[in-house]
Amino acid sequence: MSLILLIEQVLNGLQFGVMLFLMAAGLTLIFGVMGLINLAHGSLYMVGAFAAAAVAGWTGSFALALVAALAAAAAAGALVELLVIRRLYDRDHLDQVLATFALILIFSEGTRWLFGSFPLFLDVPAALAGPVMLPGGILYPLYRLVIIGVGLLVALGLFWLIAKTRIGVQIRAGEADREMIAALGVDISKLYTLVFALGAALAGLAGALVGAIQSVQVGMGEPVLILAFVVIVIGGIGSIKGALVGSLLVGLTDTLGGVLLPPLLGIFMQASSATSVGSAVASMAIYILMVGVLLFKPSGLFGGT
Amino acid sequence: MTDPLLKLSDLNKSFGALKATDNVSLTLMPGEIHALIGPNGAGKSTLIKQVAGGLRSDSGTVEFAGRDVTPLGTVARARAGLGRTFQISSLAMEYTVLQNTVLGALGHDGAVMRFFRPVMKDRALVDRGMAALERVGLADQAAKRTADLSHGQRRLLEVAVALTLEPKVFLMDEPMAGLGASGSKRLTGFLDDLRAQAPILLVEHDMDAVFALADRISVLVYGQVIATGTADEIKRDAAVREAYLGAEDAA
């Protein structure tokens, strides 16, 4: 494998990681502040993608589609928080798992009810289509560079939000101690709705951005959901920094594992069995990574105790 | 002179810049009650954890019955014969009062890998659990759910569970807290007798109890033992008066 190709694959891994980060950031935020395991986060991702595809279909504008995705996912998130989630904060994780699993069923089949059983069309806007030449002679899709950019902006935005704003102060206080921040006179239920809607909006944004280069279909959120959980567990639950590092680690492991393992195993065994064994191990790679991290850091890389 | 049953030598523990335990050495002799007092935040609970095994010391040693137990964890030290009660009641709240003491008796036997015969029908275990409850005066509460006990009753149950372990040494972290005047008095009388069974390292805020019970008292301030002696010696000690009792006199 040439060096250029390797660099391109590393770039691909980073890009995949950034996509995961968009999804994982909201999840870890919700978990960190409210201690809630939200299995329905993938559904909010799907809501974003479907809203974007529908609006892009009507208006032809990708910008409007993104706005619609943010709005629809945030609205769905706020609604779910008000109707269901807020009754679950003082419950144990099991009730949360069951309730949000039920939400997955409702969201998935509800979406199919509204939009039908066939995948929807959502394309990259013309201005961002096609590849660009990077220094070193790497031809790379422009849209993927944009995703990397958006992901890093979101990361910066979240760091800023949490470190510098009033809401951020409340969020950090809420992570530390729920009663304490209620005692400080902050309207905690409003804060929770807000954080949940914010997390949902991030998932929706991810869904719309990623939907343009993937398949917008019912159930699209579930594989990403599991990956996002892997990410936040590796990073340490509740830590935005952990989510970023975890995303990049998972992105790189998954991409480079799939690319490097089969030829690497080819050194030791027959080409055909190397391909199949390599592929098999590659698909387990991120879970092996996760187990490895948790064995050495039982609360993830940046998790508290 | 007999050997001490429990001997702490030069124990240290820091949390970041905060020195919670600063070169603490003390001993517990057979048959004595050695009280550990000090203002809030002096490091008493930290020290108890270091002795019980829940917290690893930065340096120093803990010797118990002539054996160095420093590298051992909570379970091994408990099995060696350290019976601990907690400052904040640490009980199985869903269980009945009796189930908690039976758990203690079971822990003392160690034969936990038994999967078939109901434990509450094991006469030997239940009798020992009941006996411990009787000694602290909780026998009439045996069938009550622990979560429904009053605060003071939970303190007594803590002691009862420790009794089932038949320890060589008791480590008691504020057993009087929340007991009220009459409860404190009863427990004071009980502990007075208990020392004959096994010596007690007692952390306590109730000064009446401490002065009534303690053979020796050590005063802990900012992680350091500033004085050790009998009640009278401690009452007269200038450093103690200034650092500790002074504040109370003023109050």
């Binding site: 694959q9 899709p141 398949s215 199949s276 | -």
Partner: protein, 381 residues
């Protein structure tokens, strides 16, 4: 006891239980359809169902019971039990996925019920595991791949890059392609099932010296790959089986699929009366273009009704013979069964084109005429 005799014993037990109900049906046939109607893969099941219902419309002798398998093998097995034990169906059909077919079909045929496959043709059922009661009205799984391989060999394609998910249908498909392809396979990549991002594979494709990419990625995987491939600027030719370029999927890929060559036994522009009627009726009935799954469902119902006209389903031997004749006007044109009850049919090469605003397929030639699978030799009926 040998396996065959075990199965025979089981079927005798089941048959004798079924005898009592033979009278109740008269000349009618009760059909049990197990297909995927909910969850991610529901589009295919809906098409098969709609095609079947369209062809069976108005036939009062045909009673249809439809069940949703949720694409879960264990559910499908239980539904098959239900249809046979409780509904007492005579014929079963509907399963979309190979793994579900492998779970259900052997049990169905072992109990002496006919099974007509409207999709899914795993090799085991075409070879050693064939059964007199099992008819495949769609294709053996390898058909489209073998046709692609021979077409590619004859049309100047020299170096291909193969890609499929790492599961049996994927590896089998690539094996089928290699069986007939005479050029060089420069690389083979097996991706994770359900993978959605193909940047890494696309980079490998770009770096390889292949002139053509041949891939099988069903459902959303294919949509994701094609969109990402189109955005990558790699200009190697793309080929695949029809599954990744069917009507339901082209709508989601859009222009990115234009120019792709794909093999299929059916296309809406096949020029025969039956097909014209089917395409027109389907659009009139459901307001969308039919897919190849709809065509398969439609043909399955036509085949069944042709046999119903000739024999009573209670007379298994006669009904089997009637099915074997395949005396119906297939929307695919010529259609016959090989001895292993799998189709002998033409496989076409199609190209994705734009007709007005709609992205769709157009036939550009025959990739393999009278194609027949290679597993029939192992089939001892």
């Amino acid at each position: 006891m040998k396996l065959k005799s075990l199965i025979a014993a089981a079927s005798i037990a089941a048959l004798s239980a079924g005898m009592a109900y033979a009278e109740a049906h008269g000349g009618k046939v009760k059909v049990g359809m197990i297909t995927t109607l909910s969850g991610g893969g529901a589009g295919l099941g809906l098409d098969v169902r709609d095609g079947f219902v369209l062809a069976a419309k108005g036939n009062e002798n045909l009673e249809l019971v439809i069940e949703d398998d949720q694409r879960k093998p264990d559910i499908a097995v239980q539904l098959a039990d239900k249809l046979i034990q409780s509904e007492k169906v005579d014929v079963m059909t509907g399963i979309i996925w190979s793994n579900l077919a492998m779970a259900v079909v052997p049990a169905v045929t072992a109990q002496g019920k006919f099974y007509l496959s409207p999709n899914a043709g795993p090799s085991a059922l075409a070879g050693k595991g064939c059964s007199p009661f099992y008819f495949n009205v769609a294709w053996q799984n390898d058909a489209f791949y073998e046709a692609s391989g021979s077409w590619a060999s004859e049309n100047g394609i020299e170096k291909v890059f193969l890609m499929a998910p790492n599961y049996p249908a994927g590896t089998d498909g690539m094996t089928g392609f290699k069986r007939t392809f005479t050029g060089e396979v420069v690389d083979e990549v097996y991706t994770k099932l359900g993978q959605t991002d193909y940047a890494a594979e696309i980079a490998q494709i770009r770096a390889s010296d292949a002139d053509t990419v041949y891939f099988f990625l069903p459902g959303g995987m294919g949509i994701s790959f094609m969109k990402q491939y189109a955005g990558s600027g790699v200009d190697k030719k793309v080929m695949g089986p029809a599954f990744s370029f069917d009507q339901g999927i082209l709508g989601a890929i859009g222009d990115a699929a234009l120019g792709v060559k794909n093999t299929s036994h059916w296309s809406k522009d096949i020029d025969n009366e039956a097909n014209k009627k089917f395409v027109a009726d389907f659009q009139a009935e459901y307001g969308r273009l039919p897919s190849l799954y709809a065509a398969q469902g439609y043909d399955t119902a036509l085949l069944l009704q042709s046999a119903m006209g000739k024999a009573d389903v209670k007379d298994a031997a006669a009904f089997q013979a009637a099915l074997e004749e395949a005396d119906f006007a297939s929307v695919r044109g010529a259609f016959a069964f090989a001895p292993n009850h799998h189709p002998i049919q033409d496989i076409y090469m199609r190209e994705v084109v734009k007709e007005g605003d709609i992205v769709t397929n157009k036939i550009i030639g025959v990739a393999a005429s009278n194609h027949q699978d290679v597993y029939g030799a192992d089939c001892k009926m």
